[in-house]
């Protein structure tokens, strides 16, 4: 276990440095003058002019060489300081913390809801099969066939407009969280419920399941002691992989429901060329990715020790 943590720590450092540098290079290769873009975000889109852009350029030292800006960022990073946002001047860390808070709540709510939807449906369709299985397959395929913002739009039209149950957008009260989380959950569950179905079907048909029945265990005992855990192993592994795609959904949903998360903030930062914020956000996502990956690996190893030494 310690070997894994050490290795992942190294990976963490490598990823944070790598991602930060990758975004820096990419952002610096973007066309358009950064000073103007930042001035536009600062002073409003109609009020930006040369004077404002020149002022911004001096204030932020944008005419210094790219290399010195990178070096500045790197030395700050070593002292745990992510630098300040070019647009709002606030430290990137606080802004990210605020945005990250909202994104994590949305992601956690979405993932939990998707698990609550996918697992029961997946198991039921594997166990009963027949019409339930076919209809679930049809619904899942349709949900997978549309981009996540379309699911969001339809959810708004149905829940928020026709039945007026939930607010259309914004944040603050838990009611605001329902539609975004539901949209994310549906887009995730559409895939994960079929994975649960396939794994459950595999386990129900496996010879160790049958032999457990042969030994005299009742169907429910067999499922509890042998089925559940054997299904859980590949499903947890899949959820681990799915975590990566969660971010894509989050960016779309945040922009549709104007949810002040990291995805949405990042999209704006890219337009406004707020490089420190983008580096900070990408770094945060890279760190989250490595941490999540490690947690999933540990969970998988705990569930299925056969996976050999925890590499």
């Amino acid at each position: 276990m310690r070997a894994l943590l050490l290795k992942r720590l190294l990976q963490l450092v490598a990823v944070s440095w790598g991602v930060g540098t990758l975004t820096f290079i990419l952002m610096r290769s973007l066309p358009g003058d950064m000073a103007y873009r930042i001035a536009a975000s600062r002073y409003g889109m109609d009020a930006v002019d040369n004077r404002a852009a020149d002022l911004v350029r001096e204030e932020l030292g944008l005419n210094h060489s790219a290399w010195s800006a990178y070096w500045q960022w790197f030395t700050d990073l070593l002292s745990w300081n992510l630098g300040n946002s070019l647009v709002s001047g606030e430290p990137v860390a606080t802004q990210l913390w605020h945005m990250l808070g909202h994104s994590v709540v949305l992601a956690v709510a979405g993932i939990l809801l998707s698990i609550l939807i996918a697992i029961p449906l997946g198991l039921a369709s594997a166990f009963k099969g027949g019409w339930l299985d076919r209809s679930l397959l049809m619904v899942s395929t349709t949900l997978r066939a549309v981009p996540v913002f379309v699911i969001g739009l339809l959810a708004i039209i149905m829940f928020a407009l026709e039945w007026n149950l939930f607010p259309v957008a914004g944040f603050g009260t838990p009611a605001h969280l329902v539609l975004p989380a539901l949209t994310l959950a549906l887009s995730l569950a559409a895939i994960s419920n079929r994975v649960v179905h396939t794994e459950a079907r595999r386990v129900f048909g496996s010879s160790f399941f049958e032999f457990a029945r042969m030994k005299g265990l009742s169907p429910s005992q067999t499922f509890m002691h042998h089925g559940a855990r054997n299904i859980a192993v590949p499903v947890v592994a899949f959820l681990g992989i799915q975590l990566i795609t969660v971010v894509e959904g989050v960016v779309m949903i945040e922009s549709l429901f104007s949810w002040p998360g990291i995805g949405h903030g990042l999209a704006h930062a890219i337009f406004a060329r707020d490089i420190p914020l983008i580096q900070g956000a990408a770094l945060m996502m890279g760190v989250l990715f490595v941490v999540m990956n490690t947690l999933v690996d540990i969970a998988c190893h705990y569930l299925d020790p056969r996976g050999g030494q925890l590499a």
């Binding site: 029945r213 005299g216 054997n230």
Partner: protein, 460 residues
């Protein structure tokens, strides 16, 4: 009161008959062996009795257990408690994530209704009885085939079921493990009844009791095991009995071999950094057939691979006295389907070899006749032919390269007895004609005895 009474039990897929109607009765303490080749429908009979046929098949006929006629659904109540079945591959039938002892305990607790403490104590005792006392915590992937089989049997019997159905209990085990499992089965079912399904005549001989011989779903012969084994009526039964290496004719003494091919001095072989066998000294001569015997895990395969240069020798030297190029040192594999690409027809594969080494095509036809391979076979790919035919195709390919050395790694262990006898005979004869030295590896000492000029015994 009979434990099991079956009348005209038959199995159908749709309306094609997979198993012809069979009737049998089993009293307390009796033992029945069902003998037949793989794929002759004997497993279907076991599943039909047990009541767990795949739902795509249907049965006819009546099954009466302990005096009570029960259909498939009702029989589920008896599972584990009154009747228990031991499936073919034990290493697949144990929960891959749970320790052996834990699974045994669980059966005691939930099926036999023991208290947790009792179950734990009983499980430890049963495992110790099997000599598995220190591998209780191990999972299936950490157990050998034999150990897994013994745990599976213990689990099957933990529910106290008097009647035990064992489906190919000795498949894939080497000789010493096989006898151990048979003893365990017979002792467990003393007070109940035992139905054993096997293709191995030696197992049937040890179990005794009554026997039925089945071929492609038909019951050919039934009676006392000793009577049938000594005087088989049906020609198929005769062939099956003769296929047991013990009954093979003795080997004619080989002519002397003089010219050495490869000389091995103080060789230590191993895989990774674990040494398997040390201080090996022998000389292999041209045209000589040498057998290698030993328990599984003693390095039989590794020895062959080291001679071929696939593995590095850990210590000692291998002297090759022949300048034959690399491709004339060939290998036959235990599982031919894993050694031949499924993507293309056998003809294409043959064509590849011929083109690569510019072999004279005229030599193919006579060799194919000798190996009993007909032309039409080549159009199919490796999955479209039987195991025996595929092994003979591999021999064809190897022989076309005029090999000086052929390492045969248990070439017949996956084949059914009759085919195994033919293929092993063919291998030795053809190699001798082409002056090719053969190293034959097997876990069956009788087979080696009857086929090889000389035997090397490896001990772990």
């Amino acid at each position: 009161m009979s434990l099991i009474h079956i009348e005209n039990l038959a199995v159908y897929a749709g309306n094609t008959e997979l198993l012809a109607p069979i009737s049998l009765t089993l009293e307390k303490g009796q033992r029945l062996t069902i003998l037949g080749q793989t794929g002759s429908g004997k497993s279907l009979l076991a599943q039909a009795i047990m009541g767990n046929l795949p739902n795509s098949l249907r049965t006819e006929g009546r099954v009466t257990l302990f005096g009570e006629e029960v259909n498939a659904k009702q029989r589920q109540r008896f599972w584990g408690r009154r009747i228990s079945m031991l499936p073919q591959e034990p290493w697949n039938s144990l929960d891959p994530l749970m320790g052996a002892q834990q699974q045994l305990e669980q059966t005691y607790r939930m099926v036999a209704g023991e208290s947790a403490a009792n179950a734990q104590q009983k499980a430890a005792y049963t495992l110790a009885l099997q000599g598995l006392q220190d591998s209780g915590h191990k999972r299936v992937d950490q157990l050998s085939g034999g150990m897994a089989q013994r745990v599976a049997i213990a689990c099957a019997m933990a529910g106290g079921a008097p009647v035990l159905l064992a489906d190919e209990p000795t498949k894939g085990l080497d000789v010493s493990r096989r006898d151990q499992v048979v003893q365990q089965l017979m002792s467990q079912s003393k007070q109940g009844a035992l139905i054993t399904i096997t293709h191995d005549v030696a197992v049937a001989r040890q179990i005794g009791g009554r026997m039925m011989v089945i071929k492609s779903g038909e019951l050919l012969e039934q009676g006392n095991t000793s009577d049938i084994l000594s005087a088989p009526q049906h020609p198929f039964t005769k062939a099956l009995i003769e296929a047991d290496p013990v009954n093979w004719p003795d080997k004619t003494p080989a002519s002397s071999h003089k010219t050495p091919l490869v000389e091995v001095q103080d060789l230590t072989i191993g895989r990774g950094n674990k040494a398997l066998s040390k201080h090996l000294n022998f000389t292999l001569h041209q045209g000589e057939v040498v057998g290698v015997v030993g328990d599984s895990g003693c390095g039989k395969s590794t020895l062959g691979d080291t001679l071929l240069g696939v593995h590095q020798a850990m210590e000692g030297t291998i002297l090759r006295h022949s300048q034959a190029p690399l491709h004339q040192w060939q290998k036959l594999y235990q599982d031919p389907t894993a050694a031949v690409s499924r993507a293309v027809s056998l003809a294409t594969l043959l064509e590849d070899t011929v083109k690569l080494h510019k072999i004279d095509r005229a030599r193919i036809a006579p060799l194919m006749r000798q190996l009993g391979l007909d032309e039409a076979l080549l159009q199919r790919n490796s999955e479209g032919v039987s195991g025996g035919e595929l092994q003979r195709f591999c021999m064809l390919r190897a022989l076309l390269l005029d090999p000086v050395f052929l390492f045969a790694d248990e070439p017949t262990s996956r084949l059914d007895p009759i085919t195994a006898k033919e293929v092993s005979q063919l291998l030795v004869d053809v190699a001798k004609q082409n002056g090719c030295a053969v190293m034959l590896v097997s876990h069956d000492p009788d087979l080696i005895e009857k086929r090889c000029d000389r035997v090397i015994r490896l001990d772990a």
